[in-house]
Symmetry: C3
Subunit: 143 residues, 3 copies
């Protein structure tokens, strides 16, 4: 077992209130429940989402602002530490009225419906993000 191994603690299953910003809400939820490491799955519908594409040349996220309400067709992510606090990293796949699809790194979105499952993991070394240029990343796994 390497340093990357953890055990299962609690699972949180809940619906986020309509109208709140998703990333902020999940950050507060993780902080309040002291979730230091975990996996996230979300489905529902989001309004006016802003999704990011990391542009390596520019060294920053290009922001794509979508207008309207989209099916949150898939969203997976993780919780780890940044500056000692729980940090949410969430990607999204969004479906429009005809099933047309946009996807990327979620920067922000208003919740219409969001059904969230968080798998809390404990028992191993805390996983902390460090700054690499304009990205905040975990150390790479080494054998």
């Amino acid at each position: 077992m390497g340093e990357s191994a953890y055990v299962f603690s609690k699972a949180y299953v809940f619906r986020v209130p309509e109208g709140v910003e998703l990333i902020s809400y999940l950050s507060e939820f993780a902080a309040k429940n002291n979730i230091l490491l975990g996996a996230i799955m979300v489905l529902g519908m989001l309004k006016d989402p802003i999704i990011g594409y990391f542009d390596k040349e520019q060294g920053r996220y290009r922001e794509n602002s979508l207008k309207g309400t989209y099916e949150l067709a898939s969203s997976i992510g993780n919780i780890s530490l940044r500056d000692g606090k729980p940090f949410i990293h969430l990607h999204v796949v969004l479906g429009g009225p005809n099933g047309e699809t946009y996807s990327g790194h979620l920067l922000r979105a208003e919740v219409y419906i969001a059904e969230v499952i968080i798998f809390e993991l404990t028992g191993g070394k805390p996983l902390e993000r460090k700054q690499y240029g304009s990205l905040w990343l975990w150390d790479v796994y080494s054998t």
Copy 2:
């Protein structure tokens, strides 16, 4: 720990038979195994899927019927209770022959291949859907 916290019970991993309707099959699987709460992940290929986009103005799902066979590129969902029975909520991302992608809420689809993982959760308050207009939703999480 709020009322939204659960513990890990069993994980089910299986392949759905070719030709059956996916949502019905998973509903029967959950009922038969008495899975009252859980997370679902599926990958495989689906035939003639019908995906929904919830139209808030109309108060109902707009149905997009896709013809042919699609890679089930991502599918996450959950199991909770509706009218006291296990209810499947599943979203899908579907890839066509050139990788072109459609996504939304899965209404129905015939299985070509479906590899399913269900994480059963127990130990907390049952999560029951209630009718809000034409949607069936959990109560929102409250602190």
Copy 3:
């Protein structure tokens, strides 16, 4: 409890080094850690991914080679056995600079960033892939 039921063992959470091929790396990780069954979630960015669409008429994967770097907007998969060794089955949803999306079965891709979570499952009957034509599948679940 059917033969498809397992229990939760460890969870592995790690970042894959930049520049390696993702499927090969995960295969080696699973072999080294002796992970015989599990669920996989990945997010990050991939370079020059090749995604497959299984063409039933031709009995083989059609390969779609994408050039450039894409947000790995969703990736779920599983680990089971093939020829007695851990085998990775991973699907991907990829977002381009404007959020445009391609998806399918991942054949190969170079990692730019890949944050991986593996849920290891144990305690049940090993799940082994068998050859059905040009596909390697689990036996279907039978009640």
